[in-house]
Amino acid sequence: MKRRDFLRVLGILSGSTLLSSCGSRKTKDFVSSVLPPEEGVIPGEAYYSPSTCTECPAGCGLSVKRREGWPIKLEGAPEHPINDGGLCIRGQSSLTRLYHPKRVNAPLRRNGDGKFNAVSWEKALSLVSESLAGSRDAGRKNLFLSGRTTGSLSLLIDAFCGKLGVERLPEFEVYSHSAVAEANGLLFGERDVPHYRIENADFLLTVGADILATHVSPVSYTRKLSRARSGGDFRWFHAEPHLSLTGANADRRFVVLPGREAVLLAYLLRQVLEKGPRRHGLPREVVNALPRYSVENASDQTGIPAEKLADLADRMTKARFPLVIAGGVSTSHRRGLEVAALAGMIQWVTGEIPGLVDFARNEQYGGTGTYHDMEALSARLSKGEAGVLFLSRTNPVFSLPGGFAFRENVRKAKLSVAFGDLLDETVQEADLILPLSHSLESWGDVEPRRGVVSLVRPVLGSLHDTLSEGDILLRLMGAVSGEGPATGYREYLFAEWTKRFGEKGKDALIRDGFVEESLPEKRVTLNGGKAAAFLKGAAAEGGEPKAPVLVLAPSLRTFDGRSRGLPLLSEVPDPLTTISYGRWLSVSPGTAKALGVKDTEEATVSSGDWSQVLPMKIQPGLAEGVFVAGRDFVDSPPLRTEERTGEATWYLEGIRIEKSGKVAAIPVLSGSPSQQGRGLIPDPSHKDEKHHHGTESLYPEHEHKEYRWAMAIDLALCNGCSACVAACYIENNVPVVGKKDHLKGREMSWLRIEPFYGEAGNVDFLPMLCQQCHSAPCETVCPVYAAYHNPEGLNVQVYNRCVGTRYCSNNCPYKVRRFNWFWHLWKKPLDRMLNPDLEVRAAGVMEKCTFCVQRIRAAKDKAKDDSRKVRDGEVTTACAQSCPTGAITFGNLLDTKSKVYRLAHLARAYRVFEGLGTNPSVYYLGGAKGGPEREGHG
């Protein structure tokens, strides 16, 4: 037989074997994964569909990347009115909530001995229906408590409650912004948080509001701030008692004594009244009631040096469109309402309303309840008047301060029904757990800002036996009366959307993922009488917290604690302290010195009867007498509720700190808070640095014919938010290794944020990733060519070839290579999250960033199909895509028209450790950002 004949026979045989086996049960699956169905699943090709992030109340738009039907990555939806392409670290990690191994995967009912048993949905829902009816008959109240809810779901809950005689309670949010809402209600009759148009301001003063990390809509604010900063003549000041990520990034940060923000604002208001910019006057009675402070006086009271205060007032009065935003920790103390109200008055006087402070598009916090409401609920529960208590997407058992005894009171309800996905503290207390589908598994919509409706759309069927909240409510309604408003929540939503936007509008919403309605401008006027009365009442009050103070701050990674359970969020360190796992107490360097403690030594914090042991972390830039801990780091703190606003005071005053002498095992990933004068982020002293090394080489130069991939990172824009780090983990299948390995310094991040503190307590963030050196020290030392230079200028790592000598890592001056110390497993179903474009690296193999080479490959394939080169902007890395500020630019350095080429040739472009002659492809743009206590040049 000839060779060709043999091959022919072989082909026919194997072909017919394959075809004949197509008749099996699996046929459908097989065909569906080969033929593109309507909603397209072509193996090997990624699809993006719009949805909305539900990890926090901000409601950022998502573009969900799917491969073979599975969502593998979340990206910010470009052009979305909230986040415009950016996505924060929590949003990135929300995917691990979907695939969380510990999700509740079926309805659970508590049996006699307190353990949970799985029950069917029919059984669970009929139990609820029976109990509802039973309670009504027994004269008990049925109550519905949820976290902040907007959009159609809120309407459905109203319908549900109306129909079944359930009382809907005000929503519970830890960060309800009640003081701000209350102040706006008082002054302008609009009890809500307005939308701040930072992008149109030329001066911004933020007071306590952590707008970059946790305040209301952080990605939105970050985007706006970047736009404002790129405008050139923009200046941003920030005042806060503690140190937040926002403070770390302002042009200038003022440390204000805890509780004295009102003095600062009163001083500024008077300055504005006297010097402008003034669009509206204040009624005389208000002006008279306004306390009068001289610079020295205000300086004494606030702790801000007089000349800095004068300078702040000067700049503010000279600005054309100044914007003041108060919030966060500064409106959450006993004088929080004064702070919020004075900020509101400044907004009024300077004419920020409605141009910069837009009440038409307010942030929908009007329906959110206060701690007063929770006190009332707790009291009602303790009296045992509750029949069925619904607890949906909220965790008051964990979040409420110690005095509420909410855990005990929940148990007094006849039947507590929790809707949730993970077994958090509240869900664990329920009698019946109804598992919710993740937003990626369900239909829905949210309206985080009035007039902005964002689509929640399933991208896969339910992983477990779960339902969306809408479906549960509809079923319950159906079960009771025999007729629901619609058969399923999807149909219900479609009907609602058609009603609101029309048929075309509905289709647009489903296609684009959002609808932005045009709303008429809302004009408000100051209620002078109320304002004056308020100021008179307020002037009599003192009540600043007594030092030393523990400030309980919201957390970048866990928000109010709700994102605690997500593994990725503990793996990525907090950017200010670089602590990954565990809780800690930030102490000022002075206090640490006085106590004689080092990082991770434990201290007992106590206030009255309450005490807690926390490891300490020395935090440069923190004022004396102020301690900071994450809101979710302390258990049942004795927080008081502020009488007028119903806001919890996030301050523990007059605390005692005693060191316990023990050292806690919490991983601090940074080896040094200071850059040791090494010019990683150069200051002027590094400008004339001489580089001794020549560039002569024994070996021929690398040639790059078509592409030389490079990156430019603008340090003036980078704020350390770490969204890029989380994006990198998910895009590149970087393993989550856990606390034990973190303690040994074995984290696997390919990209990390390095915070470097200056002597003044200012901090700069340096995103460090593989620098893709042209003369790479890692490449020459690899004995087997596993580290090699590809023709496009990437230092690629051939995982199959690597034997694991670790020499490359030793020899890397940037230390960005990561070694697989163990076999890393993705607990089911987390393995569904793996990006199929990359392998999961085996134990004993070195791995590293390769500028998302899989994305480059995909773009090149596409370009090749069209017989062209990859265009600038056509391919970007996961980190650059996710960056809310747009600090990272990726592209081809050989293309002189590319953005990265332009940035790399700016005067402020530099490369880290230039003197070593490694010739990196990552260019940093430095030197433009101001910092706390430091003036910027921008």
Binding site: C782, T805, A843, M846
Partner: protein
């Protein structure tokens, strides 16, 4: 005694070591073998679980394993020095040490050779490090010092084994005479039909001289290559041109110390005082002193270079080395390698065998610590302060380190019972 009697006496004295083993010997052998088996067990565990069971981490990617590698290669050095170099220099005292030193070289190289394998993340892919023809056109990177290592160590092992064996041939023939049955046939086989004719001696001497000459450059080259594993990098504290001579001196220093450590008890237990005299020990102590001075000089030069470089990275590395987290290790190193050996300027101490034995133990420790200090402190603090970190060896690393001593002593103890522990023919020559 007349001459033939004396010659027979030498044979009996040396070969008496090969008597039936006593209880003490068996216990020692058992201990060593157990340690070695522990090493194999732990290595298996490490391969199955991952390198993470060792304490090495990020940024300190090399730790005790590479320390051990350099340490054992260093030990292996004095074998060649004493055998080959001193042979060429006609230093007569070498006769008393050359056989145990050569044996030590071979066994130390076995121990050394294990460590590059143990420290690989994927030990089972070790053959990737050899240039072998493959269909996929994969080749090794000759720019990498680790490949130079592969060649240097394998060359050295080959030459050392050949040299050791060639030196043994006439002694095998003598041992053959004293043996019966199977043992006689084995020794006969290895003696390659040696009959001691004039012609055989003539050829033998030429071959031995040639091998000695061939091996001599290896003394300098092998450890130079090992030092380039570090010097070729860009890590402050490693990247320096004095590493090659510095490491060679260190190797000879540690090797000589190990010879003393081994030969002192051997002389006592096997009653070889007549052949290994205090004079011999004095000579070798001089080598020890001399190399100690070179090593100390290198320490000073290293710090001087860092000081005058004006390079902040270098300066910080050396400040950290002396005063940082590993300061205790550093001062142990200075004490053992630079200070105690100075006592050897006193002739009385040079001739005090017990003192030399104790001193040699200190030097062994000091030289191990030296490698640890160089490797670990440089990696712990290189360029980027964010990734500064420390390293503590894990129990697995400690076990494997002890296991390498197990391998070494197992092999050495077997050598004592199976091969003539001194060169009988050479001792005879010198009578």
């Amino acid at each position: 005694m007349d001459k033939p009697d004396k010659l027979a006496q030498v044979e009996q004295d040396v070969l008496s070591a090969m008597k039936k083993p006593g209880l003490g010997y068996l216990a020692a052998l058992g201990c060593s073998a157990t340690l070695f088996l522990t090493l194999l067990g732990l290595w298996g565990y490490q391969m199955a679980t991952g390198m993470g069971v060792a304490g090495i981490t990020h940024p300190v990617g090399w730790g005790v394993y590479i320390t051990n590698f350099v340490f054992w290669v260093g030990i292996a050095h004095s074998g060649t020095l004493i055998s080959a170099v001193l042979y060429l220099f006609r230093a007569r005292f070498r006769t008393s040490f050359n056989r145990p030193a050569e044996a030590m070289t071979v066994f130390a190289l076995l121990a050394a050779g294990l460590f590059p394998l143990i420290h690989l993340g994927r030990s089972w892919k070790f053959y990737y490090l050899f240039p072998y023809p493959t269909q996929r056109m994969l080749w090794v990177n000759f720019r990498s010092p680790l490949i130079w290592d592969v060649f240097a160590v394998s060359t050295y092992l080959t030459v050392s084994v050949v040299f050791f064996y060639v030196g043994l041939i006439p002694d095998f023939a003598i041992a053959r005479r004293y043996k019966e049955g199977l043992a006689k046939r084995i020794y006969g086989f290895f003696s390659l039909g040696w009959t001691g004719t004039r012609r055989q001696w003539k050829n033998y001497n030429q071959l031995y001289l040639f091998l000695a000459a061939f091996a001599t450059p290896l003394v300098a080259s092998v450890h130079s290559v090992v030092s380039w594993d570090f010097a070729m990098s860009i890590i402050p504290g490693w990247h320096t041109t004095i590493f090659a001579p510095y490491f060679v001196a260190g190797a000879i220093f540690s090797g000589t110390a190990m010879v003393i450590t081994l030969v002192v008890p051997m002389r006592k237990i096997l009653a070889l005082d007549r052949y290994i005299t205090d004079d011999h020990f004095e000579s070798i102590a001089k080598i020890l002193l001399f190399t100690s001075l070179i090593v100390t000089y290198s320490y000073v030069v290293e710090f001087g270079l860092a000081w005058y470089s004006g390079n902040p990275y270098e300066m910080e590395t050396f400040r950290y080395r002396a005063l940082g987290d590993y300061t205790v290790m550093f001062w142990i190193m200075i004490f053992c390698n630079s200070l105690i050996p100075l006592t050897l300027f006193a002739r009385r101490l040079r001739r005090n065998v017990k003192y030399l034995f104790v001193l040699s133990l200190f030097v062994n420790v000091g030289m191990w610590v030296e490698r640890f200090v160089i490797i670990v402190t440089s990696l712990a603090r290189d360029y980027d302060p964010y990734v500064w970190g420390t390293y503590t060896p894990s129990i697995v690393e400690v076990g494997i380190t002890l296991g390498s001593f197990g391998l070494f002593f197992t092999a050495y103890l077997l050598f004592l019972k199976t091969l003539p522990v001194l060169s009988i023919t050479e001792i005879k020559e010198h009578l």
